[in-house]
């Protein structure tokens, strides 16, 4: 059980690291609020399949603050957390691509994708 809990925590940390990187790549271009609005929309869409995402949805987080999301993901089984994150990420990318095209989306998020997943700055403090 503890192992499963640790896995969910890890999933949550990785997910938040990914969102953090996306926010860093996108906020300078579209503004922090612009980036946050897209993230919120993804949360809302994913919430339909993962009702436990209600908490981060309702939280009035500042742009770039993913703490509520981290807590929600960490509280779920790892598989569920990963599936929710996956759903959000797909929704987010589809949404952005529908607005500015797949090619420009890839280009704008290149910095986020290039960042190694294990980058120290995205590690959870132990």
């Amino acid at each position: 059980m503890a192992a499963a809990g640790a896995d969910a925590g890890q999933v949550a940390a990785e997910a938040v690291a990914a969102w953090d990187a996306i926010h860093r790549a996108l906020a300078p271009v579209v503004g922090p609020r612009g980036a946050a609005a897209l993230h919120r929309r993804s949360l809302h869409v994913a919430r339909a399949s993962f009702p436990w995402l209600a908490a981060p949805c309702d939280a009035l987080a500042e742009p770039g603050d993913f703490d509520a999301l981290r807590r929600a993901l960490a509280s779920q089984p790892a598989v569920q957390a990963a599936a929710a994150h996956d759903c959000m990420l797909h929704t987010f990318l589809d949404l952005l691509a529908s607005l500015i095209g797949e090619s420009l989306t890839t280009r704008l998020l290149q910095g986020a994708n290039d960042r190694p997943a294990g980058d120290i700055s995205f590690q959870e403090p132990t």
Binding site: A27, P28, V29, V30, G31, P32, R33, G34, L38, L99, I100, G101, S103, L104, R107, L108, Q110, G111
Partner: protein
């Protein structure tokens, strides 16, 4: 003494016609304002220039402030052909400073711009839109005023050797806005509305260090972005001696007409064919182009008649289809004479055409936006001169209401513009409507003074004889002449 004055490099804007209007391009390191009401194409102009100018050696920063959400801007600007997404985040960076602007403190906006400029060392900087900077300042607690903001920004950009653009809205021309004083260049975009026609116009109200083309210049926004229509320039490089009465003559493609003109139409001349509806002006114009094509000369036609393709006949349709005769699309709303002139000259150059037809001036005037009709004569004169300077020979038709009490060639006073005139008329003879034509003028050349009957059939125009034994032909109702009382025959 050696000249130690700084040399101002001029940047090609990538906007068709704009460099000409600017007087040779955009001065490097200049501080420019692009002003105008919403929807007039300011952001598009800025993007078009940025995508044309930005290179790895000349990177660009595009600051978006509070106005149009950047996502939407990127969405819409991508629809233009100039938007090269490979340049984004490579040599073009978009930077949103809405968070700083939202504080209402212009110093914060300036500080953020300075930080980004220091980080990326751009050669081109755009701030879109300036209006939101002004609004942000209006809201609040700014420690510096607008004028100071602009001055500091100008200073910063000049010392960073960045050519800068402020994109603004809602400026009024009469308002002595401090921004205008600081700016080196002021590009004003307008939408002129007259009746139900809307025409986009651009004016360079200021551009330090160079002579711009004064006046309002119409422009269009298409898939390729903006295209500015500057007044047609006289073309250089063609020996003028080649044109004129001593020049080789062009065959008209109608048997007998060349003889009437004293051996054809001198190359480089402009010819006006004036006549009433149905007299065969378009047929004559087509024959002129077909004859050119037969001799291996390319032609260009601007057809303003209602159904251009149907009116030209199968041979012309074939020539157009095979690309030997270029067609100017004259159906766009809100046309200006300068636009048609620009298109015609570009097509003449592309095809190395020697024959140009404008069919007809009456249709041309109707196709113009109302705002341009008043200046039709002046603009037309400029266009004819510019076309002549390409070395091409121009044939224009003009619809002429049949008036039998006077001999007029065109309702626009355009007759004086042209080097040669052919006039067509209807006359009534023995209860039949017959057509006659005459060569009224071929500058510096002898020509026939006969009024010749002609017919139009499937093969085109067939010129016949003079109508012997009649007088008063131009009155429309000729009468038989009494030979005994006529001392001169002919």
């Amino acid at each position: 003494m050696t000249d130690t004055r700084p040399v101002i490099a001029r940047l090609g804007t990538g906007v068709q016609g704009l460099d000409q209007v600017l007087g040779g391009g955009l001065p490097e390191f200049s501080f420019n304002v692009i002003a105008g009401p919403p929807g007039c194409g300011k952001t598009t102009l800025a993007h078009q220039m940025m995508f044309a100018l930005a290179t790895p050696q000349r990177p660009a920063l595009y600051f978006t402030v509070l106005g149009e959400p950047p996502l939407k801007m990127l969405r819409y600007q991508q629809q233009f052909e100039f938007f090269d997404e490979r340049k984004v985040n490579a040599c073009i960076r978009f930077v949103n400073v809405s968070a700083e602007a939202a504080t209402g403190d212009l110093q914060q906006v300036l500080a953020r711009i300075a930080t980004e400029v220091e980080a990326h060392d751009p050669r081109l900087v755009f701030v879109d839109s300036f209006r939101s900077v002004v609004l942000a300042q209006d809201r609040g607690r700014s420690f510096i005023g607008l004028q100071e903001f602009v001055q500091q920004l100008g200073l910063l950009m000049t010392s960073w050797q960045a050519t800068t653009f402020l994109i603004g809205e809602y400026f009024t021309e009469n308002d002595p806005n401090p921004v205008f004083t600081v700016a080196d260049g002021l590009i004003w975009l307008r939408q002129s509305v007259q009746r139900n026609s809307v025409v986009r116009k651009m004016e360079i109200m200021k551009m330090r260090g160079q002579a711009t083309l004064a006046g309002l210049h119409s422009f269009r926004i298409g898939n390729g972005g903006l295209q500015v229509f500057a007044p047609p320039e006289l073309q250089r490089g063609r020996p003028p001696a080649e044109a004129g009465s001593g020049a080789p003559r062009l065959e008209m493609g109608v048997a007998g007409l060349d003889e009437m003109m004293g051996g054809g139409l001198p190359r480089g001349y402009s010819l006006l064919v004036a006549g009433p509806t149905g007299a065969g002006k378009s047929i004559l114009a087509s024959a002129f182009l077909v004859e050119g094509a037969r001799r291996g000369e390319a032609g260009v036609i601007a057809a303003f008649e209602r159904r251009p393709n149907a009116a030209q006949g199968p041979v012309m349709t074939q020539l157009i289809g095979s690309g030997r005769v270029g067609v100017i699309d004259a159906r766009a709303p809100g046309l200006s004479v300068d636009e048609i002139a620009t298109l015609l000259i570009a097509e003449v150059r592309r095809l190395e055409a020697t024959r140009v037809v404008i069919d007809s001036l009456s249709g041309f005037e109707l196709a113009l936006a109302p705002t341009f009709r008043e200046d039709f004569r002046e603009s037309l004169s400029r266009m004819v001169l510019a076309l002549a300077s390409t070395g091409a020979t121009v044939l224009m038709t003009s619809e002429l209401e049949d008036r039998y009490d006077d001999l007029r060639f065109s309702p626009y006073g355009t007759a004086f513009l042209t080097d040669a005139i052919i006039v067509q008329r209807y006359i009534e003879v023995d209860s039949r409507l017959r057509r006659v034509m005459a060569v009224a003028k071929v500058r510096d050349s002898a020509h026939s003074n006969e009024l010749r009957l002609y017919e139009i059939d499937d093969t085109g125009i067939r010129i016949g004889t003079t109508l012997e034994g009649y007088e008063g032909l131009l009155g429309g109702r000729p009468s038989r002449r009494d030979r005994r009382s006529d001392p001169v025959d002919g």
